[in-house]
Amino acid sequence: MQDFEYQKPKTIAEAGDAFNAQSDGSFLAGGQTLIPVLKQGLAMPSGLIDLSGIEDLQGITVTGASLSIGAMTTHARVAASPEVQKAIPALAGLAGGIGDPQVRNRGTLGGSLANNDPSADYPAAVLALSAAVVTDKRRIPADEFFTGMFETALDEGELITGVEFPVAERAAYAKFANPASRYAMAGVFVARVDGAVRVAVTGAGPGVFRVAEMEAALNKDFQAEALKGIAVPEADLLADIHASAGYRAHLIGVMAGRAVDAANANGGAA
């Protein structure tokens, strides 16, 4: 690993200044992707700005029909949070199934979203729940945030400070995990918010995406049977050593059905 300047600012403003002072700075959240990337020499930043000392990026609050989670909140804290379990149990369940316990103790919501790995779990929740990604500059609606494989709407140096999730009437996440990495080979988050259903798929395509046909069917009848016969085109899906595009297309249907069943059975604690 090439050496770098290490900084640990105390405020969001200091973090921005530290980033701007570097020729090629990088924010460090939980590091569960970034540190392996640095070890492989795939990134060689001049400076790392560790966000773990910034109090304003931590924490979970519920206000009315909105759940706010600070960007540096770890997956383990989201999974164990009574507030999240009560407001959006599917989100707590999703966080508790990311990676493994050690990854969940370090990895963060903001880091996962900024990285936008096509197999990450959180993007599916953010997109299906129509959450807003809040940064140090603006609020970005989920539909505008995810722009492609490892690509987001974030500008250079723009920092995610938190995410605002609307509390869903019903929601659930079903994932078919790669047994080695625990990343999603197909993960489907189904949510009904203010009477409107949204279905978001991760792991199967080059980035998280919605399935309009499933949403229309579930808006008419929120039952797994309503999804029968709806197929996602294979041409748009990933094929690799873990699964063919056809297999992933099949998994999307199965996972979507399971998510709807779970949302109906227990309020979404899939």
């Binding site: 690993m1 090439q2 050496d3 770098f4 300047e5 290490y6 640990k8 460090l28 590091g31 569960q32 540190i35 392996p36 640095l38 070890k39 790392l48 560790d50 773990s52 383990a76 990676g99 493994d100 316990p101 050690q102 990854v103 103790n105 370090r106 080695a180 990495s181 625990r182």
Partner: protein
């Protein structure tokens, strides 16, 4: 070069380190505590697991500077001066290891698991050990060892 000050196995430690130094290399190369192993160095195997502020983490996926000010516990810190702790004893009795390379990480993960959940089911144990790979045992005896160790530890 950043200076870090932390507690390792309840002993205060301070040292100048390069930003890029991994916590596992600090533990093994600087402190000479070689019970923490490097199996894969790609964040997958869990042989390097230590506790940072009570939580199990992969020390190959953490910079030493990120542990500045933290309480770090390694396998040496949970082992008595002579003999084995109840969980280590259970691994011994249940044949929860063959080559033993993964065992320090298994024990550190399982110690934290049992602390959170003193009476884990087999499913809880398997879910809890998802970040630890063993290439010898097939896991059956590791699950039995954790169950047996948990029983002794809850008294």
């Amino acid at each position: 070069m950043p200076k870090i000050a932390l507690s390792v196995n309840n002993e205060p430690v301070s040292h100048d380190v390069e930003g890029r130094l991994l916590l596992v290399d600090f533990i093994r190369e600087v402190l000479g505590l070689t019970g923490t192993h490097v199996g894969c160095d790609t964040s997958q195997c869990g042989a390097c697991i230590v506790h940072v502020n009570g939580l199990p983490v992969k020390s190959c996926t953490l910079l030493a500077v990120q542990a500045d000010g933290a309480d770090v516990t390694t396998i040496e810190g949970v082992s008595p001066d002579h003999g084995l702790n109840p969980l280590q004893q259970a691994f011994h009795e249940k044949h929860g290891l063959q080559c033993g390379f993964c065992t320090p990480g298994m024990v550190m993960t399982a110690m934290a698991l049992i602390e959170d959940n003193p009476d884990p089911s087999d499913a809880d144990i398997r879910h809890g050990l998802e970040g630890n790979l063993c290439r010898c045992t097939g896991y059956q005896n590791i699950v039995e060892a954790v169950r047996a160790g948990a029983k002794v530890m809850r008294g």
